[in-house]
Amino acid sequence: MCDANSRGRGRKITTIEAATNGSDPIGTAVHEAWVKHDVAQCGYCQSGQIMSATAFLKAQPKGKQPTAAEIDSAMAGNICRCGTYARIRAAVADAAKVLA
């Protein structure tokens, strides 16, 4: 709420619902990779994980495949207490491949 009022002013803000409703090709690829790799356990953090992954892949130059270290670095801000990180890695790499 704070962010929306201050840092977010004048900027476009999107949500997990918009990113994964099929209208956004990158968000859709990430959503599909998340389901394919059965990433979620409790699922509480996964909306944030998916938004970070989508933002990361949107910022990738066209055709560039991210390295494992780049994926880790991009996703290091999101905590998952269930420990789903192995599948998060696999899903982000897979989504990048699908989008290539």
Binding site: E17, V35, A40, Q41, C42, Q46, I79, R81, C82, I88
Partner: protein
């Protein structure tokens, strides 16, 4: 507080919890109304559970369920063929939301693509069939409900077959089923959806024949979670998302020291904040007092809480200080006390090799991602609660006591939870009781609406109910062959069970949840002395409970004896197992084989580490590769060997092993500790109570020993062996054993 109420139920429950290896009991299904087959209307309600519950909640004319009454349903088959299975457990990440429906769908011969899942309630029907109480814990969901859900599926299938036989006027023995369809001898076929209504009118069969496990086509298949799509698109609702008509949100200001009371309160600034409806004094756990702010939403409530001017009186309560506590434990460790095991300690003095070791383990917070919350609606003569709880059986009694109702007048609608790890299964029902106290006070203040009491992250991290702090001391004498001649061990830590409804399980002054995992499976002459000091810090079970520390102590010491006697740590363990402990041997051998332990050359600076441990009837062995980089221990690769008997969902077992291992890793890395100073918890959020990030995640392979024996649980057993395997690798690199968590490299 519940002693007088639960004397018949809970000791029986815990007896099962503690006798985890006992033979599987048989479950007799109450016949009446065990399954309900509904038309599309019923399913529509199921598709919008919050809406349906809101209508029910505001209707006010829904009769409370009697304790003897059967559930609304375990199985619903809609006319379109959708099969909805109600789970008798809390889904909080462990995957029972998919595993239990798989078991039922197997015997039902359902079309898996049409199988759905839904949460249950505190209705007696959803009790654990072995515990006799509604409880999710002890990695028991699949283990204790395997036969139960198979029988449910088989009974539903038998009724559908009877309906088809009657429709086609053929012998039921001539019918077959496959993927949600019944097939007859003359080319007849009908879907379960078509037969559902007629089947519902038939009697429930007494006896059913279960499938030969060789014929399983759903059980054992790697199956994507039913909730995977919802949890990958923001569609999954959790307890925190409850939004009933008119609902208000409350946050509670708590004293900085457990058990303290309000000395003075100035709430004028808080009350002036827009959206604030009430500021209320509420009783808290352990005789403390708190201040609840009830407002339109969380943000207003939080702002108002920040604006409260409260002075606390903590003069009469003990102020625990971690450093002083450790000094106190060190004094206690050499005192005589009750003994869990005994053995002749005279060989200790003359043993060729002696090893003295002290281990220190800190308090740990569970830190589930979804902060604790509970929504309460009180109406005349009844109350409804919506919350992600592991323990609705105890919670309904605790809620009833606060609200001056009978337990059967409480309905707890179990909500999908964002993690829990034990924190949502509390003998004192602390977060349920708090929400009821807030809702009760709000009602007295004229707010007759549902109230959602919400904890912030800081409330949770600072809120107690931690894995206890423990001190272990070991004096071991052994010979050149590594044969242990005497092992004198002392264990100090608060009891989780003393003073709770489970207190009766503490025998001879020893809490079995502190000592589980000691000695076994090794044939050691061990004397184990136990002390349970009482301190003003609430403690609780934390994923894998006693094995969080006992496995570390046992598996690092066994490794150290192997190193000191120049034996390979795997060979040494296998020698100790001899012809016993076949599941330990199989799990360890599988991890060794798959990791190519001892065969493959590791990169420079890396070392192997090994550990194996049984908890909650399953065995997990780890072979890891680790290194030290810039003074920090790094876990690179993990190979797991798992023995959990028959696997229901291999994808779920893999996820649980990886997740539990990461929680084990959280005990090792910097920041994995709760400490107190002058009674005040020093950590408050993930900045100072750290948990692993993706950058800490090792490469991770999970391998399972094939077995057709009835399944054992996997929610917890992946945790205990990870930390000692990691520590053993680091110790073989540095030559110095690790005897403190989180790791401290000198």
């Amino acid at each position: 507080m519940l002693n007088d109420i639960f004397t018949t139920e809970l000791p029986r429950a815990l007896q099962h919890l503690l006798e985890r290896d006992q033979a599987r009991g048989s479950f007799t299904l109450p016949r009446r109304d065990f399954l309900k087959i509904v038309g599309i209307g019923g399913l529509a309600l199921g598709a919008f559970p919050h809406l349906a519950l809101a209508q029910e909640a505001t209707g006010g004319d829904v009769a409370p369920l009697k304790p003897s009454q059967q559930p609304s349903a375990f199985v619903q088959i809609a006319s379109n063929g959708e099969v909805t299975v109600t789970i008798n457990r809390l889904e909080f990440g462990q995957g029972v939301q998919t595993g239990l429906p798989m078991i039922l769908a197997e015997e039902l011969d359902a079309d898996w693509s049409l199988v759905r899942s839904r949460n249950g309630s505190n209705n007696n029907a959803y009790q654990d069939p072995l515990f006799g109480i509604h409880l999710t814990g002890g990695s028991n969901s699949i283990k204790n409900s395997f036969t139960q859900y198979r029988e449910l599926g088989a009974r539903a299938r038998a009724m559908l077959l009877s309906a088809a036989a009657a429709r086609w006027n053929v012998d039921v023995a001539s019918l077959t089923t496959k993927a949600g369809m019944v097939f007859g001898p003359a080319g007849h076929k009908a879907s379960y959806g078509e037969l559902a209504e007629a089947a519902m009118a038939l009697p429930v069969p007494d006896k059913v024949t279960l499938k030969d496990p060789g014929d399983f086509r759903i059980i054992g298949q790697a199956t994507t979670r039913i909730d995977a799509k919802a949890k990958s698109s923001g569609q999954q609702d959790f307890g925190i998302d409850m939004h009933l008509p008119g609902q208000l949100t409350a946050v509670v200001a708590r004293p900085p020291v457990f058990g303290a009371k309000i000395a003075s309160l100035d709430d004028s600034a808080a009350r002036a904040i827009k959206g604030v409806k009430a500021v209320l004094r509420v009783p808290l756990d352990r005789g403390a007092e708190g201040v609840a702010v009830v407002a339109d939403g969380y943000w207003q409530a939080k702002l108002a809480r920040d604006a409260l001017k409260v002075e606390w009186n903590s003069t009469t309560v003990e102020k625990v200080d971690s450093e002083k506590q450790l000094a106190q434990y060190r004094k206690l460790v050499n005192q005589p006390g009750p003994r869990q095991f005994d053995a002749d300690m005279t060989p200790l003095a003359s043993a060729p090799h002696q090893l003295d070791a002290e281990f220190v383990f800190p308090y740990l917070a569970h830190a589930p991602m979804e902060p604790l919350n509970c929504t309460v609606q009180i109406s005349e003569g009844r109350a409804q609660l919506w919350t992600g709880t592991q323990f609705p059986g105890g919670d309904s009694t605790a809620a009833a006591k606060v609200l001056n109702l009978k337990p059967e007048q409480i309905q707890i609608n179990v909500q999908t939870a964002g993690g829990g790890f034990g924190r949502r299964g509390v003998p004192s029902s602390d977060f349920i009781v708090l929400a009821c106290e807030v809702a009760k006070a709000a009602r007295v203040a004229g707010l007759t609406v549902p109230v959602r009491t919400l904890w912030s992250r800081e409330d949770d991290i600072k809120g107690g109910y931690y894995r206890p702090m423990y001190l272990h001391q070991a004096r071991i004498g052994f010979d050149d062959s590594g044969k242990v001649l005497a092992w004198d061990h002392a264990l100090i830590g608060q009891s989780i069970l003393v003073g709770t409804v489970f207190g009766g399980q503490v025998k001879n002054g020893i809490d079995p949840t502190a000592t589980e995992g000691m000695r076994a499976p090794y044939p050691l002459p061990m004397r184990l002395t136990v002390h349970h000091p009482e301190l003003n810090v609430p403690v609780l079970w934390w994923r894998s409970v006693g094995s969080t520390h006992t496995a570390f102590v046992m598996e690092t010491l066994i490794d150290e004896i192997a190193r000191k006697t120049k034996q390979d740590p795997v060979d040494y363990r296998m020698k100790l197992f001899a012809d016993q402990s076949p599941r330990h041997r199989a799990a360890l051998q599988l991890a060794v084989d798959k990791s190519e332990y001892g065969k493959r050359q590791l990169p420079a600076g890396r070392a192997w580490g090994v550990a194996v441990h049984e908890s909650f009837s399953s065995v997990v062995a780890y072979v890891v590769e680790a290194s030290v980089q810039d003074g920090r221990p790094v876990l690179h690769h993990v190979t797991a060997g798992v023995h959990c008997n028959l696997v229901v969902n291999p994808r779920s077992v893999e996820a649980q092993v990886q997740g539990a291992a990461l929680m084990g890793l959280s005990m090792c890395l910097p920041g994995g500790a709760i400490t107190l100073k002058e009674g005040v918890v020093q950590q408050s959020n993930f900045a100072d109570f750290s948990v692993p990030r993706i950058t800490d995640m090792p490469e991770f392979a999970v391998h399972v020993v094939p077995s057709a024996e009835p399944p054992t649980g996997m929610g917890e057993p992946g945790l205990p062996a990870l930390a000692p395997a990691f520590a053993n690798a680091i110790a073989s690199l540095t030559g110095k054993p690790i005897r403190q968590l989180p790791f401290k490299l000198a």
